[in-house]
Symmetry: C2
Amino acid sequence: MLVVQVHVHVKPEAIDAFREATLENARNSVLEPGVIRFDVLQEREDQTRFQLVEIYRTAEDPARHKATAHYAAWRDAVEPMMAEPRRSVKLEALFPDAACWEMPEETAGE
Amino acid sequence: MLVVQVHVHVKPEAIDAFREATLENARNSVLEPGVIRFDVLQEREDQTRFQLVEIYRTAEDPARHKATAHYAAWRDAVEPMMAEPRRSVKLEALFPDAACWEMPEETAGE
């Protein structure tokens, strides 16, 4: 399991459009077999700052995600919205156990 | 629901001790009624950098967490391990729906 955290800083006028484009991407991304979760977060004290927390089954799955049509559409849509380049960090999940990272069955993909 | 992300940078010689103290704290924290998740992550490219991702039910629950004996024990144990002060960020979860943040029933608290 691999956690990729993408830090995004958007232009103030792009907050709503970024949110919409990113939710659409997230809804499609959680349907990929290699994606365990695809969380979207927004900072409370600076709403121009977002995080995508992408949890993949294997080291190959981030590249598969980047090969999808929904990723390409998102990347192109948000390109003019960036206030600065995105920064991504790869993390190892130490707690809880891997099984706990799955979304509850009845809600997955909503 | 409130997400608190705590960024921790430890001294290189404290990596193992910090991990142990933090896993103990996390195992106790997920048993708090106000805690939905308490994830512990470590950066792959700089193992002195950790994140605690604390997901609370309400705005009052972070203060309740800080009033527990396990939090106090953790705070005191890790104090000499810090390479720099901890930094915390409050985030709003935009995706998925709140129900998806709960740990799967059969694995919760493990």
